[in-house]
Structure formats: structure tokens, C-alpha cells
Symmetry: C2
Subunit: 706 residues, 2 copies
């Protein structure tokens, strides 16, 4: 079945059966009924309970078989052991979508996993889609559908709006929903996916991307259980212009451990997930608060193309605090053009017309100043967003009317820009601004961060995204991991260049090859059994003549005989010694979730101490590789910082792109590739992989698994 089939029935059903319906509105089987009755759900509610004639005033049915029609959705609130027979009965009845509140499945150990597989098998026979098990369910505010037992509804129903929430964790999803409500923010749907036996967060995102009722998608994930589907869903959302905000937990050592024991999922490497999800346009977040702030800002559907901020303030201090935050997070605050500054100085000689634009406390006497400074920021400053720091002044009952009157016309004159206030006061007063399309934040720094995220979205939408590659040739690799010389031959065929080099099998041959290549050369042992060649003396550098070559060859063989007498020796590699340039490393790791992921960094401490690396899912073209190279913190070193020549970034980018294509070509047997060091020579002089290790699963192992 396709991933979206019958999901509409789960999220926006015309009828729903509650299996294990309860009269008690605080029990799992009673809460959804009570909520739907209260919210005025227009669909048919069919309680199922053999022991009752009515439930909460509704006619109750003794069995699934006895239902008067196939329910579009079913809510299953019975103990785990009864779930299989319910699914069977629902399937036979013709129900195509069931939400399984019941716990005691994959999250509860091996037996539960087996039970969950059994559920899936039954559901598959009937083409029945499952949400859960171990889910808190779904709500759909517009139609009053509350297929959930969340007690978050005890403190109030959600406000209707255009934000959709998809969460693996039920309680955390409901927390996001309640947080939105408490902040006056409107939601459309909440979908919690629990164990994700069938429907995943990816499916929920895909549904929201296509739904008219959702404009902003908030997601919480502990593990990505279906990476291709998730990335495809992100692409669809991006194409639809709907921002996806992603909180992926399990970053910390403690967090990762806890995530493994929660919701039956294993968290992948969070850093890889961050990189891959943001490649596909997701905004990666760490905390619910910033998620709601950005969702709020994005919910107005104004995404200016200018990634720049103007700050208009009645307090110099607040202007500086906001500017500091903007600089910290990289949101540009360009100065106003000189002419515009001069004009504003004429209007208010004691003001500051640069940016922040300080119209001083005089704006309390003349709210027109606020309008004038803000208009200048939008018009002459050309800022994507103008943030006005008005604090309690905006919350004043009297002034709020004057301010709104002055500012509302600007909202209409500049429909594609953002006007935001930092304001304190009664929610009812502040809501008037919001209703007029002016964003309201109570903290200047939170405002700056949320605006930055939305402005980045707008700027990204106006760029063509760097193309990812889809076509690639299969690469033929040996049955077991190749040695260095073999690896370099494979890599060279893929356009990843080693220095001139050749494997030799005698002292005479070593001298001959060295003379062909030209001194100075390096020599190193070729053996699949010796990993730390350098440490045992099986690498020799600075070989400058025949005597040196003979001596080095003998010394290497002696070192191996001495330190690794049982190693398989396949020869000695003689290579041109290349010096100068910038030492880098690049490699591939097969991520369990996202497949081969390329990593790039500078050599030495940059990676070891600073962890200054860039990641990207394979494959990708040279342009994307170039972006990746330049995204590391110390990219300036490649560009010629510290008085050295700029490195050949084009060659490096081509090599990295080729490596990413090569990695995908190898397929599932690839474990990792390690090119360390890669020497990036000065501009125009290329880049060389000086060492290469390719690790493969051996053919038999893979055969075993499949």
C-alpha cells in the first residue's frame, strides 16, 4: 500500500469506533468520546463494549462485528492481548485505519516485538493502516476529532490554527500542543506515532505537506525509522512552501541511552541526522520554546527574501541587546543608507538613525515617530524584518490604540516583510497587534532568533537548491576489503587521485619505480593485516636516491618481520613524496539510518580536538561538495588564511563529490572509506589522496543477511 493510503481516515475520519469504550470520561476508552462530544465532532461515534447498551449517552455496540457500518477509523483501547483479535475483526469489517492506544508491544521487550509483528501481519492482510501501538493518538481541531486520550485536554482544547504537530512521543507531542495553546497559538492537527509499527512521523509529515489545514509542520523524533520516506516528505513539504521544524532528541550520551529505552527506537547519530534533515530543508531545533516561536512567526506565511533585520527601539539598551543577539547568530543588521539617516535625523535630532534605529522615549509622545522609523527601515533600509522594541508601552491600553493605528497601514504597504514587536502586557491587548499581522514576542532575543529562522527560510526559498545526484554507476569491488594499492586503483578509476605510485615486489623494482616516479619518494608496506604501518616503522619518508631506496626497502621488510611476522605482505608501495598544501581528511561512513554519509575536515587537531567537520548524505555534485568544504569553521585555512596560498578548492570539491558517487556505487557492502591525509595543493595544482582505506563487509556476510 502506498504510504498515504487511508491516512485521511485516521486523521480526518467521518466515523469512528472506540473499541473498549468507557462510560468514565477519565479512562483511556472514555476520554476520546468525552472530548469529541464536547468539541462537537460531526462524524458518527460508535462505542464498542459488550457490557453496556450506552456509553456517555451514545448507543453502544457489543462487538466490532455488530457495528452498523465499517468505521472509517477505529480507536483500540483494550489490553495488548486482545488487540490481535480486534485488528482481525476490524479488518473483516472493512475498517482501513486503526489507532492503537494499547501498550505492551515493541517498547516492552522481545515478546512485545513479536506481538507487534503479528499485528502488522494481520493488518497487512486487510490493507488496514495502523497508528501505534503505544500511541496517544491524533486530534484534528477543525472537525473536532479527538482520537486521543491525552489529559492535556483537561486544561483546555487547542485553538484552531495552521500548525501541525507530528511526534513519536505522545506526551511530548501533547506538551507541544498545550504549549501552543497556552501561548495563544493555533493548531490544526496533532499526530503522535508511538511505536511506529506502520505509520511514521514521515507519513504524518507527508500528509501535512498535502493538507490544506497545515501551513507549518512541527516534528519531534527520537529515531528516524524510515529515512527515505522522511526525506521525501521533507522534499514535498519544501516544494509546498511549508516549513518543517524538527526537534531530534538523543544527542547527549545520557539522552541517547534514554531514547533507546523509550518508544522502542534506537536513536541514530544525531549529528548525521541534523546534517541530512537540514539538507532537505528542515530547521533543526533543540527546545520546544524555540520551536513554538518559529512556528508562530512562520504561521503568518510571510517569508521575506531579504535575510536582514532592522531594529527600531524606544530604548537604546534594548536595541543593543537585540543587535548583540543578531550578531551572535549571524543575522545581518546592515546600517541605514546615509540619505535615509540624514532624513531621520532631521525628524528627530537626538535619535539614532543607523540600525538599531532609536526613536527614543519621544515615541511615547509621538507614536508617529515609530511609524516613520519603521517605514524607513522597510523602505530605505530594505530589511526583511523590522523588530520594534516597545515593551510595556505597547501593552498600555491607551497607547496600544494609537500605535496600532499608526502601524497597521505599514503592514498593508509591505505585505512581504515582517513587522514584529517586543511587547509586554495583557494578552488581550497584545492580540490586537497579532490580529493586524504584527508578530508579538515578549523577549527581544527570542524575537531575533525566531525572525532569523523565518528570514533564512525566505532567503533559501529564493535560491535554487544545490542539486543532489541521482544517477550513478555500480562499482565493482573485491570480495574482501582491498589493500591500500588496490583501494587506490579503485579510487583512481572513480576520479579520486593518489600521487604517482606503484606497488613493487623487490628491492630492484623499488629502485626502478622510484626513478621513474622521480625522487623524493615514500615507501610503505602493503599488507591487509597491518593497520598502524607508521608505528612499526613500515613507512619511510624522504627517500632521495638509490641508496636511500634500497635501505628503505630493506628496513621496511625488516620492521615487518620483526613486529608483524605473520602479516600477509603484498608488496611495498613506492609513491611520489608530495609536500606543501593543506592537510585534509575525507571519508565515508555508512549510517544505519541514512546510508553512506560523507565527512570532510582539516587534518590533525581540527578534527581531533575541535570536531570541525562537515557531513552530507551521498551522493552529491561538486557544487554541494564545495559548499560543504567551505562550511567548516576553519574554512579560512583552505582559502589562504595565515599567509599561505589558497588551496585548490575546485579539485578538492571534485574529489569529494566523486567519492560520494563512488560510495553509493559500491552499495550496501560499504562500511567506510578513509582518505587521510588528502593533500590540497595550491590553486590549480590539484589534490591528492595520500592514504586510503576502504572497509567492506565481505561478500559472504552480506549474502547471509539477505
Amino acid at each position: 500500500m502506498t504510504s498515504l493510503e487511508h491516512i485521511d481516515g485516521l486523521i480526518a475520519p467521518n466515523s469512528v469506533a472506540i473499541i473498549g469504550a468507557s462510560e468514565d470520561p477519565t479512562r483511556i476508552g472514555g476520554r476520546p468520546i468525552a472530548a469529541m462530544l464536547k468539541a462537537g465532532y460531526k462524524g458518527r461515534i460508535m462505542p464498542v463494549n459488550p457490557k453496556r447498551d450506552t456509553v456517555q449517552g451514545l448507543p453502544c455496540f457489543a462487538s466490532i462485528e455488530g457495528l452498523p457500518e465499517a468505521p472509517e477509523a477505529a480507536l483500540v483501547a483494550v489490553p495488548a492481548k486482545f488487540v490481535p483479535q480486534c485488528i482481525e475483526a476490524l479488518g473483516r469489517k472493512g475498517c482501513k485505519a486503526a489507532t492503537l492506544f494499547s501498550a505492551g508491544f515493541a517498547e516492552a521487550g522481545e515478546e512485545g516485538e513479536a506481538a507487534q509483528r503479528e499485528l502488522m501481519a494481520i493488518a497487512a492482510r486487510y490493507g488496514l493502516r495502523l497508528l501505534g501501538p503505544n500511541t496517544l493518538g491524533v486530534y484534528n481541531v477543525e472537525i473536532g476529532y479527538y482520537g486521543t486520550f491525552s489529559s492535556s485536554l483537561d486544561t483546555g482544547f487547542p485553538i484552531q490554527g495552521n500548525i501541525g504537530i507530528a511526534s513519536q512521543s505522545g506526551a511530548f507531542g501533547a506538551h507541544l500542543g498545550a504549549l501552543a495553546r497556552d501561548q495563544g497559538l493555533g493548531c490544526s492537527v496533532l499526530i503522535t506515532t508511538g511505536n511506529e509499527a506502520d505509520i511514521t512521523v514521515a507519513d504524518a509529515v507527508r500528509w501535512m505537506a498535502a493538507s490544506d489545514s497545515v501551513d507549518v509542520i512541527c516534528t519531534y523524533m527520537e529515531a528516524v525509522n524510515d529515512a527515505p520516506a522522511l526525506l521525501a516528505a521533507l522534499d514535498v513539504a519544501r516544494a509546498a512552501g511549508k516549513p518543517v521544524l524538527a526537534l531530534k532528541s538523543g544527542r547527549s550520551a545520557v539522552g541517547a541511552l534514554a531514547a533507546a529505552s523509550h518508544t522502542a527506537s534506537l536513536t541514530g547519530d544525531a549529528v548525521v541526522a541534523d546534517a541530512v534533515l537540514s539538507e532537505h530543508g528542515a530547521i533543526i531545533l533543540r527546545d520546544p520554546e524555540s520551536m513554538m516561536d518559529i512556528a508562530y512567526a512562520a504561521s503568518k506565511k510571510v517569508f521575506p527574501q531579504q535575510h536582514s533585520l532592522g531594529v527600531v527601539t524606544i530604548s537604546g539598551g534594548a536595541g543593543i541587546v537585540a543587535s548583540d543577539e543578531a550578531e551572535r547568530i549571524g543575522l545581518p543588521m546592515p546600517a541605514m543608507p546615509d540619505a535615509a539617516q540624514a532624513k531621520l535625523l532631521e525628524v528627530l535630532p537626538y535619535g539614532s538613525p543607523v540600525n538599531p534605529l532609536d526613536c527614543t522615549a519621544q515615541a511615547l509622545n509621538e507614536p508617529g515617530l515609530l511609524e516613520e522609523f519603521t517605514r524607513a527601515g522597510l523602505e530605505e533600509g530594505g530589511y526583511g524584518a523590522v523588530l520594534c522594541f516597545l515593551t510595556y508601552v505597547a501593552g498600555s491600553e491607551v497607547l496600544s490604540k494609537v500605535i496600532l493605528e499608526a502601524m497597521a497601514p505599514l503592514r498593508e504597504a509591505y505585505p512581504n516583510r515582517i513587522i514584529a514587536f517586543c511587547a509586554l502586557g495583557e494578552p488581550a491587548v497584545l492580540k490586537r497587534y497579532d490580529d493586524a499581522g504584527i508578530l508579538i514576542f515578549n523577549d527581544p532575543c527570542r524575537a531575533v532568533r525566531a525572525l532569523d529562522a523565518v528570514l533564512r527560510l525566505g532567503a533559501a526559498q529564493s535560491q535554487t537548491s544545490s542539486s543532489t545526484l541521482s544517477a550513478h554507476q555500480p562499482v565493482k569491488v573485491p570480495a574482501t576489503s582491498p589493500d591500500e594499492a588496490e583501494a587506490k586503483v579503485l579510487l583512481a578509476e572513480a576520479g579520486i587521485v593518489p600521487p604517482p605510485e606503484q606497488a613493487v615486489h623487490s628491492a630492484e623494482e623499488a629502485v626502478k619505480v622510484a626513478e621513474e616516479i622521480g625522487y623524493p619518494v615514500v615507501m610503505k608496506i602493503l599488507s591487509p593485516d597491518i593497520v598502524h604501518k607508521f608505528d612499526i616503522g613500515a613507512v619511510k619518508l624522504n627517500i632521495r636516491d638509490m641508496d636511500g631506496a634500497l635501505a628503505a626497502h630493506a628496513a621496511i621488510l625488516a620492521a615487518v618481520a620483526n613486529h608483524a611476522p605473520y602479516a600477509r605482505v603484498k608488496g611495498v608501495l613506492v609513491a611520489k613524496q608530495i609536500s606543501g598544501g593543506v592537510e585534509c581528511l575525507m571519508g565515508i561512513n555508512r549510517d544505519p539510518t541514512f546510508g553512506p554519509v560523507a565527512v570532510f575536515g582539516l587534518g590533525g587537531i581540527f578534527v581531533e580536538l575541535l570536531n570541525d567537520v562537515a557531513l552530507r548524505a551521498c551522493p552529491f555534485g561538486p557544487e554541494a561538495a564545495r559548499e560543504m568544504l567551505l562550511s567548516i569553521r576553519c574554512a579560512a585555512i583552505l582559502q589562504g588564511a595565515r599567509g599561505t596560498e589558497p588551496a585548490d578548492i575546485d579539485a578538492l570539491a571534485k574529489m569529494l563529490s566523486n567519492l560520494s558517487i563512488f560510495a553509493v556505487g559500491i552499495g550496501e557492502r560499504l562500511v567506510s572509506i578513509d582518505l587521510n591525509p588528502v593533500l590540497a595543493m595550491p590553486e590549480g595544482q590539484g589534490a591528492y589522496a595520500l592514504d586510503a582505506v576502504i572497509e567492506l563487509d565481505s561478500e559472504e556476510v552480506v549474502a547471509d543477511v539477505h
Copy 2:
């Protein structure tokens, strides 16, 4: 007059005169009267206005002279040009404290500065203390004193509590006050210092440190106008156990300087201020929100000694998000002891007893679980704080009673630990927890950050602070900046060791000295006029014998003759060539606010690209220097990362401490000292300053200034 004299009269006066009193409660001269009448200020309010008999129902006086008594405080709300005569009259009348609302002084250019100096002169004659001018004033909630015209009071009065706010910016200070109020947080005083002609934020902090009504001090500063007083005030506050939270704006100006590679320009104002203020115990913040969060947490006056967090959760997801945030900011979350885990697993087999402690949604049915898990975290886990993620569950009217009943006894059983909830719901419901001593946050990550800050305070209180040095000898320095050889002699006397070296004045002498020192040596020109010696070829390395020495000497003189023919040549420096070790730099920069500040970093890209430096105000002892060395991000390199030997950190620390003492000894003529590179040899082998530049103001210049 001492810095605290008469400040009580400003902040907690028994009587107040309003000069320029207005009948209109929305005007500057009317607002304070209206506010005090409304708040029930018990002191005598004496309006002064020649045109009226009464003001807002109070008897009004025609002049300051005509007041029936000397007011303890005066509020001056007249145009700038009338302020001097008011001060004069107030002084004659015997008033000792005036708050000057009037603007148009130092903030308004040179004329205003002169006018401000005039005010100060008049005030000084009468021993009259001034707040402002250009201040929004003061309020003191407990006594209902509102010596302010802030319109923040239009949206409500502050709640009485134990937080004090001192702000240079009026509007920003009032924003903090309004923010506290809107969050249900109690304040004691707000003091805004405006132009700080007399009373500064330092004085306000000092007053709050001594005041019974303030337990937590929040400060906002744009410039530190009286550094010694501020640091002394911070020390008093620390000794009194009162946390000082500091928001120092103006960071972004630093960004522009950061690129420069000279030691002196590595230390921007804000970075230095951060370093120095936190040395004195201040908590440095960037945004009002975190300030209020930490103030709230600290206002309970519980500062556990354990810097560790336990998270109890009903949602695995939230537990992970909180853990991720704790790890990100370095708040330890140790696992529960095995025995305690086993016990909790018996209680709840499906729970997770490690940390986060997940008592699952089962806690909704059995609130006793929440108590049991929290108790275990406090007792067996020994955590300084336990954060319970309860979200909307805690906000439920019904459950809140049960939860409070279960948890309140823990609050009493563990008075020196923190119990906090992440909770959503009606403020009135949540306040019940707060009243019982349980902290309430609505965001788990904000909660983690605020708890971390308070736990660090507790941990810091239980440590002895690293001693700063007070005694130091004056250092005699030449009339102008010394050359390298002279600088090194001075430094050597202060215990900052150069390699064996000597200045020479002929080729023969060069050879003789080189042989005494022992080859290899380096040679470099000694000239006050040549800064970039290396670039013009006036430095020679790897000199291995007599021929080399003669050639190098000749080459250096030739290079100078060629590239810098007019430079004053004082000789050639012959020095032992030292290699190996870790390249560092250390230096001193005289900060305009805080005096000599030491900077330490590793050489090369560490400083240039990563800006990885540590700063500390001079002087300090070797222990503080050691902390400083080890506080840089790449300290692992000093400790022997990357397979190299650990560096002689003791020698480096001693050198840095000696340098800090030396810098203070030089006194005000010191501009900067630059030791770059310093070579830290392997452990036990010392550290050498290979190059040294001391920049002094010449004696005449200093004489001019004083």
C-alpha cells in the same frame, strides 16, 4: 563622600519633594505622585510648583525654599536649564539626595557634558547625591515609593519580592521590572542610573548587597563607569551570598576587532568585562529571559552544593530533550546507583530508573510514583536538583492537588535541594506549587539552564575562590618603549625567562656569543623602528657554526640597510635556538575600564581563527594562571593530546602569573606586552619567551595627562 552615603535617602526616603510637580498623572512631574498615591506611600509627598496650590489633591509648595522641611529625596522634573538652580536650592535646603529625570546633559553632546559637570560641582558643595540626570528613577515596592515616571506602571504595579534591578538604561530596566511582574515574579527595587553623573550601577549593587529587602541582584550595563567600585560591590554581594546577574550589552562592536592578530586587539571591551565580572562572581547573561529565569530560581535562596541534575519524567521524550540540554551546557546528570535502580524497577517494571527517571504515564494513575522517583533522586541519586517534567498534568485542577500533597513533604525533607516542575496550565494552579517551594518552568530547556546557573552558584559558594594578589613591587621602566633585548632583561628580572641570549655589536662578537651559548642559534636585528623583522629578512634561524654565524650577521645587516636604511640599529640579538614544545602566546593589554588584563592562547590558528583565548585581570597567582591556561578550548594540546608530551604547565602558569604582577608593577604607563611566541617545553623543562614587545606611553605623555 563615601559611595553609599545618602543613598538610602534616594531609594527608601521618608519624604520626597517633586520639583516641577504636575496635576496631570501622565506627565513626568505627575506620574510619580499619582503612582505613590495609588501605592500608598507612607512618607510625606511635597509637590513643588509655583503655579498651583494643590497638586493631585496634595498641598503644593511654590518653591524649594518654601518647603516646610528638608525633603529626604527630591525628584527633579524641570527642563535642563533650570536644573542647576534647583540643585543649588535643594542643597541649601539640606536635601541630600536628588533624582534628576531631566535630560539634555552628557547624553546630548559637549554642551550637555559641561552642564552635567556644573551640576556635579554644585551638588558636591552640599554633599548632595545625584541619581541621573536622564534617569527614569527608582522604585521601592515595599514602602510604595515610586520616584519614577516609567509608564510601565500603567500596565500594573510590581509584585513585592526579593529581586533588585539596577540598570543604566531606564526603559530596559523598566522592561525587566515589567517582565518580572508579568511572570509573577516579585521585585524589591528598581534603580535606573541614567547618565551616572554620580551614582552608578556599582553603587546600586553595593546598596542592594547590604539591603535586607534584596536577595538577588539583576544588573544591566552598557559601560562600566567605575570598575573598582563595581568589582568591590560584586565582592560584597558574593560575601553576602547574593547572586548578581549581569547583562552587559555592546558585544557586537567586538566582532569587528576580533579578526586582528595582535594580542592587544584580541580583547574587546565586552569580552574583558565578561571575564572580569565573572571572576568576581557575576553570572553573565545575554538576554532578559534567562536573567528572569535564573533570578526566579535564585530568589528561593536554595543553593545546593551538588552541581548535578536528576530528571523525573512522565514522558520519555521530554526526559531526553532535558538530558540533551544538560549535556550541551555541561550540567552533569549522573546515573542512579544500581541498588536504587533495582528498587525503582521493582516499583515500576516498565519505568526507566537510570536518569532521566521515567515513571511513565502511570504516574497519572499513581501520583505516588512521582514522589517515589523524586525522593530516590534526592536521596540515593544525591542530585542537587530534581526537575520533574509534568507538563499539562501538573496544571490539571484535580491532579494538581494530589501531586502537591504527594510532593510537598519532599520539599520539607530536603530543604537544601531544589525541586522544580516543568508544567503548563493556569497561573493560579501553578502558583500553588510555587508557594510550596517548588520551582515552576514551562520549558524543560529553560528549566535546565536556570537550574544549572543556580547549582553552579551553590557549588562555587562551597569552594574557596582562587586568591588574587594584592601586594606587588613597582617596576622601573625606561622613558620610552624598550627594544627587544631591554624588554627581555626587564622580563627576566620579573621571572619571565627568555632563552639564553645576548645583544652583540659586531660579527666577531656574534660568533663569540654564539659559541658561548652553543649552536644552533638564531639571530635577529635589534631596532625600535623595525616591527616586522622576519618579513625583511632580519631574522635568521638554524645557524649551526661559525661560518653560518658570520653569514647570518652580514645578511641581517644587509637586509636592514636595504629595506630599512633609516632604522636605528641597536645591535643584533644572538639567542639559543629552542625547538620542540608547544607554541603559545601571552600578553597584557591595558583595558580602559579594568586596567591591565592578561591574555593567554596557543599560537597560530588557535588565536587567529578560533579566538581561543583566556583573559584575566592582573595581578593573579600561579593557581589562577593555571586555571586560566586550562580554560581554553584547546587546553588538551597543553596536556599532551595528539601523542605529544604534556607541556610544562607549571612553568607556563608561573610565567603568566609573573607577567601579571610585572604588568601591575609598571603602572599606568603600560600600554601592552606581547610575548609571542612563548615556547612551553615538555614537563619539567620550563617555558621560554622567544620574543617580547613592551609598549609604554612615553613619560612626557603621561606627565601631560596628569
